[in-house]
Structure formats: C-alpha cells, structure tokens
C-alpha cells in the first residue's frame, strides 16, 4: 500500500488549489472591509452586520429556502415513483435511466431558456390552454415558473439517487416481508421505503444544494424582480463589485446548507441504515 500513497499527492494538490484555497479566500474576504482587491481593508464584521440588520436580505434568504424546499419536495414526490417504476422495470431500466439522463447532455442554460418560450404569455402552453378556452395565464415571473424550472433541472439527480438505493435492495427482503404476512402496500411502507432512506437523503442533498443557491433559473424564469440569495451573491460579485459582502453572504449560505445537511444525515442515521 505504501508505494501507492505517493499517488495521492496530485489529488491533495488539486483539492488544495481548487477547494481549500478558494474557501480560505472567501473567509478572508468576508471578514475584511469591502473592495475587490485582496486585503485592502482590515478585519471587520460589518458585512455580516449588514446582512442581519436589513430585512430585505432576510426576506430574500427565506424566499430562497422556501423555493428550495418546495423544489425538493416536488422532486421527491415525482422522483420516488419514477425511481420505483424504473427499479422494477427489469431489463428496460437501463434504457429508462438513459432517457432520464438524456436532457442533461444539453447545456442547462439552453434547456432552461426553452421554458421561457413555453411559459410566456403567448407561449406554447398558453396556446394549448387557449384551445380549451382557458387563459392566457401569467406564468412567467412567478414562483410557479421558478420552481418548475428547478424541478425540471434537478429531478434527474433525485431519481438516480433513489433508483440506486432501490435497485441494490435484495429482493429477498420483500419476499421475507410477504412471508411474514405483509401485502404489497405494507411491504412497501415497512420495508422498501425505510430501506431506501439513504437514497432519499442523497437525493434531497443533490436537489436542495443547487436549488438553494441557483441564480440563473430565477433570473431567466423569475425575471429581474425575482431575487433569490444566489442572485444577490452574483450581483455583489459581478455588478456591485463588493466581493467582501458577496463572500459574507456565501459564507452564511454555506453554514445554513451545512446545518441542513447535518440534520438530514441525522434522519438517515436514526433510521439505522447502514449502507
């Protein structure tokens, strides 16, 4: 084993350059006076004070969390049955997985932009609804459009994670449940569902993380007025040029995400599943 240890050095270097150093930079910026140049200012907590003293930022944060949680729930409700169906599809499941992942071959921005054409006032969906005498409905620039865009983009992650945990489940567990008197519904609720919790947890992680910090989906489908925390961070870096405040916001987000992941993992551990 010893001779292989040296092979890890490139990765250690890689991780330091691309993850550790940027993280340290973010921390450094967050605690210094505003500006784009490194260490222009001195140590300060003003960036954090600004965030917590301004109700607008708190509202944006809460809206971001609400949208992300909503997205995660919708993804879970849509993704679980889909993953379950794929896991039971036998030989066709490989093909179905391909179908699920196919859209991700195309750039996310382009795919999201396509929804603008579908959802706008004279878009495809309103045309179709018009045939039934409904509408036109205002769909763009609403919570609906933003959540739809996020669900559309992040659903495959949920499906893949849940499918992985379902498909590696030994069928003898279901036979055992059936043997002990469980009908199909009972077997699902008492065995399949609890045993797929690890997949659900990783699915939630993979959907919630990008959803809470996404900035281009709200920008495209929510319009200029629809601001989520990701948009605020983006504008601090790209428009306002206040890297310090942007870094402080990122740090706050990072802590919130870490906390929520910690809680989700706890849920997993309490279930006692060991995968």
């Amino acid at each position: 084993m010893k001779q292989f240890r040296s092979m890890a050095y490139p990765y250690v270097a890689w991780i330091s350059v691309l993850i550790v150093i940027p993280m340290l930079l973010i921390i450094a910026y967050a605690f210094t006076v505003e500006g784009t140049a490194f260490f222009q200012g001195q140590f300060t907590l003003a960036n954090f004070a600004r965030f917590f003293s301004d109700a607008v930022f708190i509202q944006v944060l809460l809206r971001s969390l609400r949208v992300a949680i909503l997205t995660t729930i919708v993804c879970l409700l849509l993704g679980y049955p889909a993953a379950y169906a794929i896991a039971r599809a036998g030989k066709r499941s490989t093909f179905l997985i391909l179908v699920i992942t196919l859209p991700t071959w195309i750039n996310m921005l382009v795919r999201t932009y396509a929804w603008v054409g579908i959802l706008q006032d004279d878009g495809l969906l309103n045309h179709l609804l018009g045939l039934f005498g409904i509408g036109p409905l205002q769909m763009m620039y609403t919570d609906f459009a933003v959540v739809l865009g996020m669900v559309y983009n992040f659903l495959p992650f949920m499906i893949l994670e849940i499918h992985t945990s379902l498909s590696k489940m030994d069928p003898s567990f279901l036979e055992a449940a059936s043997d002990l008197g469980a009908n199909r519904t009972q077997a699902f609720l008492r065995v399949t569902l609890p045993m797929s919790v690890p997949g659900i947890v990783s699915g939630i992680t993979l959907v919630f993380l990008p959803a809470v910090s996404s900035f281009f989906i709200p920008k495209l489908l929510g319009g200029g007025q629809y601001v989520l925390i990701g948009n605020v961070i983006e504008s601090q870096f790209l428009t306002s040029g206040n890297w310090s405040f942007g870094s402080a916001l990122s740090l706050i987000m990072a802590i919130i995400i870490m906390l929520s992941m910690f809680l989700t993992r706890r849920l997993d551990r309490n279930r006692g599943i060991d995968v």
């Binding site: 030994d170 003898s172 567990f173 036979e175 002990l180 008197g181 008492r190 045993m195 006692g272």
Partner: protein, 524 residues
C-alpha cells in the same frame, strides 16, 4: 399423524428448462422433512413453490385439505427462514421478530410476551435492542428462526439456513434446530445439500436429482437401503460393486458367492451391491471373506481410510532394455545427438509420422558447451508393416547423426473380458542416464512404453481408461544395464474400508463383513 401438505405432480420450467419434473410428496404434521440434493436439483424451487414465491406450471399444493396453489405468500400459514436470513437492517432484533405480529395488529403486550418468549427459545434473551449488523452470523440465524416461528406457522420452511456458518457453529445449530422443532412441535421442511446435516436432523429425507425424487425414507432406510447408485453415493461413501443374485439371500460378486439378507429379485438378476466402508473389518488374510492388498492409507482422525485391492485391473508386462549407450559426439560441430531403439507393431507403422518417431525414439540433439537444444532437421528411414528391424537415422543441419532401430513386433495387448477393457504397451530400450535423469519416472515409463488402455464397452466408444499402476522392482538410483519387467495396470476391484486398525500399503489383508452389511440394489 395427519397429512398436512400434499404436493401433487408439481412441474416447473425456467426458460424451457424443466427444473421440477412432476414432484409428488406428502408431508405430515410435526415432521422434520429434508429435501436433499446437489445444487440445481430443484429442492429450493420446490420450497419456494410451497412458500408461494413461485407458481408451479402444473400440479397442486394442498395444504390442510385446501388447494393453496393460487394463494400469495402473505396468506399462507407457512414461514420461511431464508438462506441469507433477509433480516431487515433498518429494524432492531425486537422489531424484526415482531414484524409479523405487528402486521396482524396483535395487542402490544401480547407481542411483547411472544417476542421475548421466542428470543428466549433461540437463546437471544436480552438482545432486543441490538442492531442486525451488530450480530454474528450464528445470532442472525437465530433471529431469523425466531422471526419466522413467532408467527406460529403450521410449517417452517428453511432454505439452506446453515450454509453460511462455520463447521462448529453449524453442528451446534443442527442440534439446536432439532431441539426447537421438537419443542414447538411443528413441521419443518429443510433444504440442504449436506447429507450429514440431513441424516442428523431429519425424520424423513427426500433425495432429489435433476428435478425428480429418487427416494423418500427415514435416514436409516436411506442410508442402509439406497434404491440406486445415485442415492448410495450421495448419502455417505459407499463401495458399489456389480453382482448377480442366483436366488434369494445369495449374491455373487468379486468372483465369490456370499450370503445376504435381501431377496425378491429374478433368478440370476444383475444387481449392484453396496457395502459401507465402516461395515468392513480388516482381519488376517486367511480369516477374510475376501483377500487383498492395501493400496493406500489415509489418516482421518477417528479412523484410517484404507483402500484394499482384491483384484488387480487389466495389466500388461513389457521388457525394458537398459543399456549404457552414450550420445554420439560430433567434435567438429560441437554437437551431441542421442536416440533409443524402440518397438512398435505393424498397425502403428501405418500411422507413423516424423514427430511420432522423434517422440518414441526420444531423439534429441544439443550443443556441447551450452547444452542448448539443436533441432533435428532430417529423419531418414524405410519401414514396412512386417515384423523386423528397420534402421532410422536422425541428422542435424550440422551433419551430426545417429542411427537406431525401429523394431516391429506382434502387437502386445491384453484384453479383459470382465472389466471390458484393453491395455496396450510395447517393449523399449533406455540408457541408464535416461532413467536416472527422469523426474517423473512412472509417467516417463508410460510414455516410453507407449502404454494406454481403453474401454471395450460398446457404449463408451473406446474411451481412454487411466493406467493407475506402474509396477517395477528396480531402484532407479542404482539401476545397471540389463532387462527389466515393467507392469502397467488399470484400476482393479477396490474396497474403501474405514477402520481403526493401522495397516501399511502393500500389506496383504482379509476383508470381513456380515450378510446384513450387504445392501442389494437394482441395477441402473
């Protein structure tokens, strides 16, 4: 005892392959039934059909007088202990065992009582809160049994439940399972490929082979009166020899008549005689019913597994002509060449090729200083399929050459009417050095003598038979020029004897057995 399960003519096919071919079987209350057979015999498939995990293509499962063929597993009054236990990893021991009772919505206090009673029965009291992955294999096994038994099924199905345990634990669990079965007094259907497990625990053994039942009976019946060679071989080790029954209570095998206790065969019917290794005693040669030579002795702990040969197989003796011939030296080219005269018969002459001649004459050439091999580039000879000596010359590219004789003689073959086989070998010549340098002398002797044996039975189509014995009296380390006899033989009539008497290979011994040690089976 009441009939509990009646299996009627069950047929099951997977992808056109028939795995169960019309199985019919009655299982009674409070019986420990073992389905025994090698992997692929259909025993697990049959168990899964009884449990309801598989539907039979044809036939019925009657349970307590009712046809349950269409019933899903959760409506059947049977419970299963799975091969890999299938304990739920997200539940602790208590919740695993209580799983079935919770589904039946029994009152909490009743569930608690039943679970703790069951855990006590399997020796796991106090383990209620343990996680499944914190338990050893043996403990998981017990949880699986408790989880199934707590539902008070009428039948417990066990699918090779002891397969994953080590030997010591397996023995303990065998005893324990039997004890539990007697205590709870329900029917156990146990699937295994381990004959010893089956003999230890069962009231009734069902021996299966390729989807059909070979024999059903008590362990003692199956052991003592196997119906055919397959069952006899599967249940314990056996000596199985061909014999003839001239009349009831009399059987002839190995050239001698013996008294036996079986009857009911046609006069002079050909039969197979089973003698268990532990039923034979080794006695002084003059006191035995058979006499033989000890061929090998293996120490097995409690006993010695001794192989005694009463009659040699088909054998043939050839002459080995040992000379002091030295290789021919070509100083000019710095090469040596060597070859031996060899014998063949007129029939072989037809099939003679250069390669064959080189092999049989053991012709080789090499560089004097480096010992590097040199290829033989030219072989010149003329031969006719008539007895006589025909010179053959081997030559290398550098001109080094040697001439030896190919000696055509009458074929040297021995046929055995009784064993339906034929053995063949020829005389040969070798130098002292060849013999001393041989690493695997028995094998080399076979090659040099071109020894081979084959079956004469029409159904075998001339299949090769292994030559098991090469017998000679010289000591290869001190051999001197001269003529030596070498005998090749196939396997003869052998008996495996499990005995506590120590013998040495080569000892002449007698074999003793009683009439009821001979178990007569129908041929086939």
């Amino acid at each position: 005892m009441n009939k509990l399960i009646e299996i009627k003519n069950i047929v099951k096919e997977f992808d056109g392959q028939r795995v169960l071919d019309g199985i019919s079987l009655d299982i009674y209350e409070n019986e420990f039934v073992t389905l025994l057979g090698p992997s692929g015999c259909g025993k697990t498939t049959l168990l899964r059909i009884i449990a309801g995990f598989l539907d039979a293509d044809d036939g019925q499962v009657i349970f307590d007088g009712q046809d349950i063929s269409g019933l899903p597993p959760y409506k059947r009054e049977v419970n299963t202990v799975f091969q890999k236990y299938a304990l739920f990893p997200h539940l602790n021991v208590y919740d695993n065992v209580a799983f079935g009772l919770n589904l039946k919505k029994e009152p909490k206090d009743i569930i608690e009582q039943k679970v703790s009673r069951m855990l006590r029965l399997v020796g796991l009291a106090g383990f209620e809160q343990r996680r499944i992955n914190q338990m050893s294999g043996g403990q998981q096994q017990r949880v699986a049994i408790a989880r199934a038994l707590v539902n008070e099924p009428k039948v417990l199905l066990l699918d090779e439940p002891l397969g994953a345990l080590d030997l010591k634990l397996r023995k303990d669990m065998q005893r324990e399972l039997k004890k539990i079965q007697q205590e709870v007094g329900i029917t156990f259907i146990f699937v295994t490929h381990d004959q010893e497990e089956a003999l230890t625990m069962s009231d009734k053994i069902v021996v299966m082979k390729e989807g059909s039942i070979q024999q059903i009976g008590s362990p003692v019946d199956i052991y003592n009166e196997p119906v055919n060679r397959y069952v006899a071989n599967f249940i314990g080790e056996s000596n199985i020899v061909d014999g003839v029954m001239p009349c009831d209570r009399r059987v002839i095998f190995d050239g001698h008549p013996f008294e036996c206790v079986d009857g009911g065969f046609a006069p002079n019917e050909e039969v197979e005689v089973v003698i268990r290794p532990e039923d034979i005693d080794i006695v002084p040669p003059e006191q035995g019913k058979l006499r033989g030579t000890v061929k090998s002795v293996l120490f097995k702990g409690v006993h010695y597994e001794t192989i005694v040969e009463t009659r040699r197989g088909t054998s043939i003796t050839v002459k080995m002509n040992v000379s002091t011939d030295q290789p021919v030296v070509n100083e000019e080219a710095g090469e040596l060449i060597d070859a031996d005269s060899f014998y063949l018969d007129a029939e072989d002459v037809e099939e003679l090729t250069d390669a064959k001649i080189i092999t049989r004459a053991n012709a080789q050439a090499w560089k004097k200083d480096t010992e590097e091999g040199v290829s033989i580039s030219k072989i010149s000879y003329s031969i006719r399929p008539e007895n006589g000596r025909y010179p053959v010359t081997f030559r290398t590219a550098a001109g080094t050459s040697i001439t030896v004789d190919m000696i055509v003689e009458d074929a040297n073959r021995v046929q055995s009417e009784e064993y339906q086989e034929e053995i063949y070998a020829v005389n040969f010549s070798k130098s002292v050095d060849d013999i001393k340098e041989s690493m695997t002398l028995d094998n080399d002797l076979m090659v040099w003598a071109d020894a081979s044996a084959w079956s004469l039975a029409p159904e075998d189509d001339g299949a090769r038979i292994r030559i098991t014995d090469v017998i000679y009296t010289f000591d290869w380390e001190t051999i001197t020029p001269g003529v030596y006899d070498i005998t090749f033989a196939t396997q003869g009539m052998e008996y495996k004897v499990d005995t506590t008497d120590r013998t040495e290979p080569g000892d002449v011994v007698g074999l003793q057995f009683t009439p009821d040690d001979l178990h007569i089976m129908k041929k086939g």
